[in-house]
């Protein structure tokens, strides 16, 4: 048992302001949720492109990332020992995400084991491995999709309740997948040629940039609470993370380096830099969008008024 914490004092301050920021999904334990979302997105994207390009190292990396993302999700939960109860996938996108991760980890294991170990009871051409392949793809699709919908179904935070957000998260997950493959390519030096992945990374990076701007444009024309979130993102308490992490490192650097690489030869170090910057951007888009979330005020504020809350 502890004394009244700074968290309590923070809550009391938050209850006094009109635009109360959400903190549960970004601060303290909440940061694990962002890490979990980030890793599961990159995992799904990496799995997708590794299957497409037949890169076994990428498949293994995707599986490891998904497993770590599961641990991050557990670390976020207030009662992690009850995680197995999350099966109510009828309406809840969180439950769907849990089902997706379960399918991905189960199917991925069935598919990967014979690829890497020759003494497994089933071969990579067996029914078991093929089933694992399709199960993992089903899980991958859910992992690509569910995060955006988790946010979009949060009615209390208008900045998130947009159909554009799931599309944005899918785009970033795919970009994270390409970035992870580029990173593997730079580290291992074998497998694919980056001439094939470079243009893909550039194209997805540009698409992501367009989607970010489109999303912000739409939300800045939405209701006052969403506009306030956009304000927090571009000029308020989230601005530094947004400009440095999301825009400069996450979008500008990979796009500029990618364009420079497209114009001439590109070194391994540059490939790694593009990949790392893209991955950092993938994390920060999730971090900044979550942090900019603001709850709907309980009632519209009349002119010349100030709100207080008892505690």
């Amino acid at each position: 048992m502890t004394a009244i914490s700074g968290r309590y004092e923070q809550l009391i301050q938050d209850l006094k302001v009109e635009y109360r920021p959400q903190r549960e999904w970004i601060e303290r334990q909440g940061l694990f949720l962002i890490v979990g979302h980030f890793l599961s997105g990159v995992a799904a994207g990496t799995w997708f492109f590794s299957l497409a390009f037949g890169l076994h190292a990428g498949l293994a990396a995707a599986y490891a990332l998904a497993a770590v993302s599961g641990l991050a999700h557990l670390a976020f939960l207030g009662r992690p020992e009850r995680f197995w109860k999350m099966w109510r996938a009828r309406n809840s996108w969180i439950a769907r995400g849990f089902v997706g991760l379960t399918l991905f980890l189960t199917g991925g294991l069935l598919y990967l084991l014979p690829l890497f170990f020759s003494n497994t009871p089933w071969s990579s051409a067996s029914f078991m491995a093929k089933s694992g392949y399709y199960i993992s793809i089903a899980g991958m699709i859910i992992l690509l999709l569910y995060k955006g919908f988790v946010y979009a179904s949060s009615k209390g935070v208008p900045f998130w309740t947009s159909p554009i957000l799931p599309a944005l998260y899918v785009a970033y997950a795919l970009r994270g997948g390409v970035a992870a493959l580029l990173l593997i390519l730079a580290l291992t030096g074998d497998g694919l040629s980056h001439e094939r992945l470079g243009p893909l990374e550039l194209w997805i990076g540009l698409s992501a940039a367009v989607m970010v701007l489109f999303y912000l444009g739409v939300m800045s024309g939405a209701n006052p609470v969403a506009r306030r979130s956009v304000y927090e993102l571009v000029r308020g308490r989230v601005a530094v993370s947004f400009y440095v992490g999301t825009l400069i490192v996450g979008l500008a650097v990979p796009i500029v380096l990618g364009l420079a690489g497209a114009a001439g030869s590109i070194s391994t170090v540059t490939v790694a830099a593009i990949a790392l910057a893209s991955v950092v951007g993938d994390f920060f888009i999730k971090y900044t969008i979550a942090k900019a979330g603001i709850y709907i005020p309980l009632r519209p504020r009349p002119a010349h008024s100030r709100v207080a809350a008892g505690h």
Partner: protein, 201 residues
């Protein structure tokens, strides 16, 4: 039957009686408010007036918090009360993000009100009733109502500004007040169908 509450803003004197009686009834820890009072000042000197807005869970007819719960920990009783089964809650806090009225609180760790003095006997007794790592909220004092009493905030309002009853019964006091005094809900545009109505000042 659908339980509901009417709060007469004309009668509310902003005494915090509802908030304190709720705390006493449920023994909620620091940082958890099943009932709360918002105060708002309007206008410029010398024509300033203070507005009070007591708030609690609105027990929506179509509660977004129930839909997003991955474990069915958030659920609705037949009489319309939205409640949480603490044994099922995993502490994902999706319901907090879904609630448009921000009436849910996450109880992350045990805390007490008098730092340096340890937990009082009352707080020790109270902490046995609540689990950490789960979300908490108002349930219209369901146990009290089933026992034939009014919710604590209604029973202890010294200004008699709160009324509790059956919204589905057109002859109930709450239905009559809503009809005669023009009762309204907060954020009707969201389509959640709150069961807490306000009577205008």
């Amino acid at each position: 039957m659908r339980w509901g509450m009417v709060i007469d803003l004309k009668r509310c004197i902003g005494c915090y009686g509802c908030q304190l009686s709720c705390k006493a009834e449920h023994g909620t820890p620091p940082g958890v408010f099943f009932a709360r009072l918002l105060k708002q000042e309007e206008g410029h000197y010398p024509t300033v007036r203070q507005l009070f807005l007591p708030v609690l869970c609105f027990h929506c007819d179509d509660p977004p918090c129930v839909d997003v719960c991955p474990t069915e920990a958030s659920f609705k009783w037949p009489e319309g009360v939205v409640d949480i089964d603490a044994e099922k809650c995993v502490g994902c806090r999706a319901c907090m993000m879904a609630c448009p009225y921000t009436q849910r609180y996450f109880y992350d760790e045990e805390q007490y009100y008098f730092p340096g003095n340890g937990a009082t006997p009352y707080e020790k007794a109270r902490s046995q009733r609540h689990q950490t790592g789960v979300v908490m909220k108002c349930n219209f004092c369901r146990d009290r109502v089933i026992a034939g009493k009014e919710p604590a905030c209604v029973a202890n309002c010294p200004a008699v500004a709160r009324y509790f009853g059956d919204l589905d019964d057109p002859t109930s006091e709450v239905s009559r007040l809503i009809k005669e005094r023009g009762g309204y809900t907060l954020h009707p545009e969201l389509g959640t169908g709150p069961a807490v109505y306000y009577l205008p000042t």
